[in-house]
Symmetry: D2
């Protein structure tokens, strides 16, 4: 089978011919139809993240080994089942839950494999979906999808939408809460769709791009603020009777945005933080006196993904696919994403 692989950091991905894996026990083999292209694939390609004091957190220190087939947002069709696998038929359409844990740590025991202490995520620690076929460790990580659900859209549920959904759940929104969404790219828009579908909260979108803000409004935002044109703190205070926001979901998560978040956050407010990094200087005394919560949110559980599939099936949420690539275009796909040239989500169709 052909797989596009990261052989080592910064090098172009290489399409290699690999053996189709033999199945054992509960394993299944899925023919990949779509594999989403995600920011974290860039981190794998770069070989690291920026941490405190400009220090680089290397992916290899977190257990990643190269060469690696990236791709953790996978939709496809069932090819074959190991002799202890069951519940699926050949050619059935499925999406794959990629945030696989080792099964024995406290997080795994309570059904949160995405928070496993020793993760084995597909496309990160195990070979993923930039490939004609992907080996999935158990049929239990598959979710059937309906024939009428677009597979490119379905693929993006397992990370892009799941991360958005995890953030919405962590924000614990009520119908009389005001939530500010900082950044209305793909994740921000999905948060807006999800928050309006399942929370009833009032949604305030914040960005510096009027076109994106218009899309945010169409996706369910009640109010929009262009922070280039008006002071976001002042604008949010006006929109909330001077109470401030109950929660902020910040997909930028740079020092600059989080420092501003804290200024329009209400007592007992929640900030959820994205992946851009940098560092925050936090005044520790205001944490208890104002009962602030800073919550890091990381993907979601397989049950969350089942819920998303149910919502997508009924058209309640609609992932937006903007670019499609072939297996030999993965380097180009990652480059475009890195340069901010992909609006919505790109997918690989091997």
């Amino acid at each position: 089978m052909k797989s596009a692989r990261t052989t080592k950091p910064h090098e172009p991905l290489e399409v290699q011919q690999l053996e189709i894996p033999k199945l054992m026990g509960p394993q299944v083999l899925v023919r990949v139809h779509s594999s989403g292209v995600c920011h974290s694939d860039i981190h794998l390609w770069d070989g690291g993240y920026e941490g405190l004091n400009g220090q680089i957190l290397k992916t290899t220190d977190r257990g990643v080994t190269y060469p690696l087939t990236p791709g953790h947002e996978i939709a496809g069709t069932m090819v074959s089942l190991g002799d202890q696998a069951e519940g699926f038929n050949k050619n059935e359409k499925v999406i794959v839950y990629p945030w696989i844990g080792e099964g024995l740590c406290p997080a795994c025991r309570s059904g949160e494999e995405n928070l496993c202490d020793k993760p084995r995520s597909l496309g990160v620690y195990l070979d993923g979906g930039y490939s004609e076929f992907v080996l999935v460790p158990s049929y239990k990580y598959l979710i059937k999808i309906d024939d009428d659900l677009d597979m490119d859209a379905a693929a993006t549920l397992s990370c892009s939408a799941l991360t958005a959904y995890g953030a919405v759940k962590n924000a614990d929104l009520k119908p009389n809460d005001n939530v500010v969404i900082v950044g209305t790219g793909g994740l921000g828009l999905m948060v807006i769709q999800l928050a309006s579908a399942v929370t009833g909260a009032r949604i305030i979108a914040l960005d510096i791009d009027d076109d994106k803000l218009k899309t945010a409004k169409d996706s369910g935002a009640n109010d929009i603020i262009n922070s280039k044109k008006e002071d976001p703190v002042k604008a949010i205070m006006e929109l909330t009777n001077n109470l401030g926001a109950d929660a902020v979901i910040d997909f930028v998560n740079a020092s600059k945005t989080v420092e501003i978040d804290m200024q329009f956050l209400r007592r007992a407010g929640v900030v959820l933080v994205g992946l851009f990094g940098g560092e925050l200087k936090l005044g520790l005394v205001s944490m208890p006196t104002r009962a602030y919560r800073l919550i890091g949110s990381y993907t979601g559980t397989i049950n969350d993904l089942v819920e998303l599939v149910s919502l997508a099936k009924r058209g309640v949420i609609k992932p937006l696919i903007s670019n499609r690539f072939k297996l030999d275009q993965t380097t180009q796909a990652l480059t475009m994403l890195k340069e901010g040239k992909i609006v919505g989500r790109g997918v690989i169709n091997p």
Copy 2:
């Protein structure tokens, strides 16, 4: 009536003779038997807190006015009821919930007056318990206590124990969680008592004083670590099979301790933070990738206090009173507390 009052920041408290208030509507008058002496009374006396970059957050900017009768941990007996007050008899023993809100903000609406946007806490915004009598805005802020419950001990439930309990609830501990308590002073010991009474979690106490750690052990800690004698990160990793702590309740909350907390904290861990202040440099990228939660915890609800009274009544928790002062000794009491000379809790007996 005699009241010991802070006339302005840094001046000795002054015992003044005030008129006994006339009661209206649901108000009640309580004869103060005991009024606890709390660290935040020192902040009121100092006129402020230390915030970011050494900046002082002034109490007057938060709405405090002087002269003020401090004292928010109040136990006493019922003297008289306004004509819309009810449910209590003359001379009944009561404790007072001091974290009173204005009643209409979202926090108040959901029963969390302690998180009110416009608080009217007794001893902070309204005259409190360093006085022979205290005016309480409504009989609804009183809780009956049994005759056999010591009133000095009961008084400290409404802030010291309530803050400990709020932290325990926010940590959301399960029986297979490991929780590290940083600092085993009065609050830390109460957390240990409460966590062993209602969570079943394994408790690891961290301090630099062997005597305090011995008391921590007697109060229910499963393991103790003197961080002067051994590396706390290494010790905690060993105690937890290299998994790290599920939660940390840090009553020091200085930059130094929180930075160490983050090193022995497990993925998806929780840090709860105390009042000492200073600032923390936080690497924003590890918040989502490790799903960390930083939670500021502030006192508790009246319902939490009802629960504490129930526990204290049955002897499940035992607040420790170490010093007793008269009304003309309040300056001395605050000075001793400031200088770290009060072990356990001091109370004023007017």
Copy 3:
């Protein structure tokens, strides 16, 4: 002021001229614009409910006294405030939370006055809204409403919509749950609106009237079943891949419907039950082996009502008003309701 009063069970309501109450403490006086007509007003008029073995539970045994001014769904304008009331201006539009408790029981302490052990609900234990003016015990029971919100619609939020919302919350629905709504009258339709606004669950509506079912579909039901025309158990099993319903909200709550509910309920399912009464023979062994939950749901908290006002303000839910009556038409209003001639909700406009 003129009030329409139930002088004793079964007699026509009588319009009496009463003194306008003098205000004390935190009390407020509201000029009634709209007062909803509710099934429980019929029970007050009848003097009782049907309980076990045909036995009548008398309202007077539950503490109701006659004469009584009914009416617990009240919207109006502020007239005057007691000297400890605050936060509202004259002529402001408000709705009234009627499920008032005595303030000291465990339910009240935790913000659930609707479940008070010694309730003082307006229009049930205290005079209510079938009157030109209503005395409200505290300004804290008022919620401001916007000028553009219709007052007749707003009035019905405080019982009809609140009961629906309480049921939705008690059902604890997730986006991949199937919930069956039994009975698509006013309450059923409001449940459908609310469940689609805040849960993302798939909604199956069950009734015996095609017109009502069509409205249910328009209100957000995903599937509809006419149980006169097809076997509801079979139909629901087919719609749910033979798994059964995760939850049933039954607004009929007669023996017959609940017995059927149990047949299409899935393992670990929830039944929430309405007010029609009668008795159920329950096989006790299937409760644990199938982990069933039978949950009685009763109105909601003031915070729930604040959430509903927020949803109604943004047009997310739209209460349906079908009939309007004057103060001298209250007997006629109750009679029409009893005879099933009011579709949607009737209101009194004094």
Copy 4:
């Protein structure tokens, strides 16, 4: 290997010589040290339960097939691992989580395999622990236990203690709740131990046997009532200031006890129900007006079991083993249990 098997209902169990299973994929083989004897083993032996109107619910209708090796409370040592199993070493002591699901239903997806729609529980649907060896479908169903934990006691954690713990969790007790435990046999005593370890609630034990009640008191009950000697409704009302119980955990769950439960249950109270069966006539109108909850509780999740192991390891709970049997004494063990001659818990030591 030798296994004691139920060949068909009512016949004496037969010790058969079976082949030791060959391991595949993630399967593991455990040498059984202890296998608890449970009431539900009697139902398997009887071939059914008593349901509504005296009707028998047959085990074969629920998917049980005979011959069957019963035994779902299993502790033992690791013998060998399938080629995809990991995380355990030969001879390590383990207990087995027996409530295994098929993995794809909504309950399994959310980590509640005990509520699976198509269960494969060990000792019920698959061969269990009345045997020298047991085949476990995956290493993920094992939990390591410490060398100092008694294996007979450990075995009973996976059903007896787990059922008690599930009930405690479903009762959602707070420290100021009063909970009544009806029946202080093995399960009732474990509930008392658990409720006092992790909830802080006040515990009232109800039985008709003074000796058992004394043990209940020693295990943590705050109050005891012999319902043969005093009226339980009156006694509980007196103990609770006439408020009634917040929750009842009824391990008898016969019509008679549940009818009494409802009389001392407070508004918004919870009844959890055991396995004895029979039927209850329930007045449907009081369900909503009094906001009652009837909750069937069935075992618990693997995470609950991990929590129990943690509590047992630290000595917080102490399962009581009263009788030990050999593999050829299983018929005798079941007979003694049926006749009420086992106090505490019996185990088979193959």
